[in-house]
């Protein structure tokens, strides 16, 4: 039985709902040794900022119970090198490219989108308003409804390509942010970014990561992510890209049933770089075994 795995995120058409999450696949070259990127829905680049960012000093990561904390600090090559050196490789991948953008000011978001909008290879923008690991920007915006509104509005004015706002779980009501994103013209939201966490050594009494706090990811956060997707899905009519602890095809299907139109694989790429290919096989098989001819038919089929 042939299965139609394609999904639409607003005007963005994906051949299947599998996306590789920002910050977990760099700019695609390393993971392409394990994954045929032309077979998956798309890849979301490591956050790009206007100028290169060195990132945080080590130690940047630590393992926690069924999860990990990271405080990379948006280390990236910057916009100029990204266009010059990374886009040519990404152009030939045969995969949909979503460019993730991080900035320290509203003006910087706008300038980045303005410049990158001209790049045909980029099919959509994911706006990172929720990085927990940098002092300026990131979560400062993610925790301020007015700032998210302003960023979305201004960025919308610069591009007709789909805009996805990546939401933080580190606030009191994620629904408010999804509502404002929709109101200001975003095409979709992705939920969730990492949860702020920390870990201390009981003998040295020092934090295990230099930044003190980091972003928690991995299977430990899946129930939280699912609950956020559910909340948004109940309250706001906007496509949701589910992210948070997806390790296998069952997790992915669960996100779609709860309310996600597509999903991103993040931490799983570090442990099993072939995870996205295995998930592709898994969701296809699930559809075949349950006589589902179009995977989009399972979106929001939760029974509550």
């Amino acid at each position: 039985m042939s299965v139609d795995l394609s999904v639409n995120i607003g005007s963005l058409k994906l051949k299947n709902p599998i996306l590789l999450a920002s910050g977990t696949v760099g700019y695609g070259n390393e993971i392409s040794e394990f994954v045929d990127l032309s077979k998956i829905g798309g890849i979301v680049t490591k956050s790009i900022s206007l100028k290169p960012r060195k990132g945080n000093p080590p130690q940047r990561i630590v393992e926690t119970s069924s999860g990990m904390l990271n405080a990379i600090g948006l280390a990236n090559v910057g916009l100029e090198l990204f266009i010059k050196e990374k886009i040519p490789f990404l152009k030939n991948l045969g995969s949909t490219l979503i460019c993730n953008i991080a900035a320290s000011s509203i003006e910087e978001y706008v300038e980045c989108v303005d410049i990158l909008d001209k790049e045909e290879t980029i099919k959509a923008f994911e706006i990172n308003v929720s990085c927990p690991n940098v002092k300026e920007g990131g979560l400062i915006f993610g925790n301020d409804v007015k700032a998210v509104a302003k960023i979305t509005e201004k960025v919308r004015g610069k591009t007709s390509k789909p805009i996805i706002i990546k939401l933080s779980p580190n606030n009191s009501n994620i629904v408010d942010y999804a509502k404002i994103a929709k109101q200001e013209g975003a095409d979709a939201v992705s939920a969730i970014n990492t949860l702020v966490g920390t870990s201390f050594d009981i003998y040295s009494k020092k934090p295990k990561i230099k930044n003190i706090t980091g972003g928690l990811s991995g299977p430990a956060i899946k129930p939280v992510a699912l609950a956020k997707v559910l909340e948004i899905s109940k309250e706001v009519d906007i496509p949701i890209i589910g992210i948070g602890g997806i390790m296998n095809w069952k997790d992915a299907v669960e996100f779609m049933i709860v309310g996600a139109s597509a999903f991103q694989i993040g931490t799983a790429n570090f442990i099993n770089p072939k995870a996205s290919m295995e998930i592709l096989d898994g969701i296809k098989k699930y559809c075949q075994e349950n006589t589902i001819s179009k995977i989009s038919d399972i979106i929001r089929t939760r029974k509550i």
């Binding site: 760099g26 390393e30 080590p58 990561i61 299977p219 570090f270 072939k274």
Partner: protein, 251 residues
């Protein structure tokens, strides 16, 4: 870079808390170089979640050997593996020790489990090269000689070799061999490598070090293992290393 399940052929205790794991890894053999490492998943579930990086300790026929010390949950699980158990290995990863430039005398310095990559490196040294191994331990119980020859010891408590550290041992050894054309390869705890950096810089001795770091992926995508180079840029230990010229990095 391959990712595969492999079978445990043996998993032998060789010193206090120190084990030697042998796995059948035929497909990997043509690609492995001394100084490289593998990122190993010791279990099929999410606790512990991440792989663990281990340097290639030795190659025997179709098998790769990993020497490891039990320090946490991952290595405790690994120590309980028996013949026939499966583990998932990803590699070979990283760069290698540069052994093609000939030096008259090679000195290998291992601090504790930092000795791990040297048995395979020794096998790859040209026959014409003389070498010696300086093995620093806390106490005699940590001593073994797997794949090593010409060993001199230093220990914190004086139970084996000189009482002191590997840098003091190196200083004595260099005076004894009275050889000018020396190259050092070293691996061990950062304080040892930092002291070695100062020593080799002062004496202008060629030295390569294998660095260690917490990491998630092992092949450059998580960006979790930076090390600052002399130009104040970050390099990744997993991809740009783990072996660095000691002059190029900030330890």
């Amino acid at each position: 870079m391959l990712i595969k399940d492999v079978f445990v052929q043996s998993n032998q205790k060789i010193a206090e808390n120190t084990f030697l794991l042998k796995v059948n890894a035929e497909e990997y053999i043509p690609y492995v170089k001394p100084g490289q490492f593998f990122n190993i998943k010791v279990n099929n579930n999410s606790y512990p979640l991440l792989r663990r990086p281990f340097s290639i300790s030795d190659v025997e026929g179709d098998s790769i050997l990993f020497m490891y010390k039990v320090v946490g949950e991952g290595t405790r699980i690994l120590a309980n593996k028996v013949v026939g158990d499966q583990i998932n290995i990803l590699g070979p990863l990283g760069n290698q020790f540069s052994i093609n430039e000939s030096s008259n005398h090679v000195i290998l310095i291992g601090g504790g489990i930092g000795i791990a990559p040297f048995p395979y490196l020794i096998k790859q040294l040209p026959n014409s090269v003389k070498y010696s191994v300086l093995f620093g331990v806390r106490t005699e119980k940590e001593v073994h000689s797997y794949g090593l020859k010409n060993i001199l010891y230093s220990s914190d408590d004086g139970t084996v070799g000189i009482k002191g550290n590997t840098i003091e041992l190196l200083d004595i050894h260099l005076k004894q061999i009275a050889e000018k054309d020396v190259k050092i390869f070293a691996c061990g705890p950062n304080p040892m490598l930092k002291a070695l950096q100062e020593y080799t810089n002062n004496k202008n001795i060629e030295c390569e070090v294998s660095m260690e770091s917490a990491m998630a992926c092992g092949f450059g995508i998580c960006q979790g293992c930076p090390i600052e180079n002399k130009d104040n840029n970050y390099k990744l230990i997993c991809k740009d290393g783990p072996v660095f010229n000691i002059r190029d990095i900030m330890i």
